[in-house]
Symmetry: C2
């Protein structure tokens, strides 16, 4: 099955565009979990259990696991295995390196962790992305316009009168021969999201920046979805994970995921 | 001690600008090592033992270790610990993410692995790099112009008549308030390396692309070093590691590192 099909299946089954970002920080999980053998995994299990009928995807960010060394890798691997088979796992890694090396990252993410998709940095160009695209059933979501302040440093630069992020979107579209490319566009740039969706009408777009980063839900849905009101993967991490730091954290996470799902669906075309 | 001092000390002691890239691939190491408990680490130990008087730095590339999962992380961690204290360890990770997440990568690389420097991707701008710069004794080597074919896709784009990689070099220079920034420039672009060295006269420049990628030694040294013939970190990975795949691989690696060191020194100003 192609990634887009798997995504659409999960999204339709759960009537949801919500991606739950598993940026699990041991400093922020409820204290009572610290007595568990693997607190990070124990936390993730509870979050997954309480949101798996509300999510179209899960997105663990590798940085949070790597900060815990090999132990973190084990937590991440167990988490990826624990996510229900029908829900896509997006490994947020923002990798990019020469072909020889990118092949190793692809192996780590698609074979070792068995992720369904990966986020990739475009700066090194096509041959840094193509090793990920050799996996036909997987997906490379390429950074286009990111949600952070620093996006303005280079991504908004005008190249022949056109912003760099548009050139990235066009290039990624040209790399999409196997139908396994996508884009990452921050919810903090609604006008630009609209323009990018026009360029890449059929690509899945991962949209972080809702919640802690204050992107607007209505414009994100309006401009980020395709003509069927689909293919936008709207991520919330901290907003869901840390909705409560008490024993009821999983119920609070569920409530927040439900609230976000419904707020999004209010603005979907179909 | 600042990174640049540590680098210069090692470089002067060993009279070398050679960085040994530890891109250790279990598929390519000599067969007799596969019976070791940790073949990757056993290989790295031998390589380090045979080159530590010839190198100014070691540069493990994280992709090769991550492809082996948590086991690879353990091999990497042991390798970083094994490298002699006086020789800087550059973790080639090409990371870049929003501040909240970049802090976790910085923790992974500078605290968990105890690296001295890291390679960083500039696409997400200043706030994706600055968490690495909060570590004053460490160094962030920012991708400027990479050695691969795909460098042309975006890095050579003209922004107001100036190539993007020059804008990156200028920005990085402006971020260098604590004196802990550097650049990555491929040896495959000698003319551009010359221009970048003019812009960033005092920054360390990591230069991959010698050897397997066919960059020219003479122009790399001539254009990549500072006015004292220093601060270029000229990396060779596959050329050294896989000089032989027999039992004498460590001696062959030493011979190749020695040959490269001397070829480089032939062209150094001082």
């Amino acid at each position: 099955m192609r990634f887009v099909e798997k995504l659409l299946n999960a999204s339709r089954k759960n009537n949801s565009l919500v991606c739950v970002g598993l940026d699990t920080d041991p400093q922020r999980i409820p204290r009572h979990l610290l007595k568990e053998e693997d607190p990070t995994f124990a936390f993730n299990q509870k979050i997954i259990d309480s949101t798996s009928d509300l999510a179209c995807a899960y997105k663990p960010n590798m940085a949070f696991y790597e900060a815990q060394g090999s132990r973190g890798w084990e937590s991440l691997k167990k988490t990826c295995e624990y996510i229900p088979e029908e829900i896509p796992v997006i490994i947020d890694a923002k990798r990019g390196d020469i072909g020889n090396t990118a092949r190793m990252y692809a192996k780590a993410i698609f074979e070792e962790l068995k992720g369904d998709a990966v986020t990739v940095n475009p700066y090194m160009g096509q041959d840094a992305v193509s090793p990920f695209l050799e996996y036909e059933g997987k997906c490379a979501l390429v950074l286009c316009l990111t949600s952070n302040e620093g996006a303005k440093d280079f991504q908004l630069s005008l190249v022949d009168g056109k912003p760099l992020y548009e050139i990235v979107a066009e290039k990624v579209l040209s790399w999409n021969e196997k139908g396994n490319c996508g884009l990452v566009v921050g919810a903090t740039h609604p006008e630009q999201l609209k323009r990018i969706r026009e360029i890449a009408s059929t690509l899945p777009i991962l949209i972080p920046g809702i919640g802690a980063q204050a992107g607007d839900v209505e414009s994100t849905v309006k401009f980020g979805t395709d003509e069927n009101g689909e293919l936008a993967i709207i991520n919330s991490s901290r907003g869901i994970l840390y909705a409560s730091q008490q024993e009821d954290f999983d119920q609070a996470a569920r409530n927040e995921a439900l609230r976000l799902r419904d707020a999004i669906n209010l603005h979907r075309g179909k």
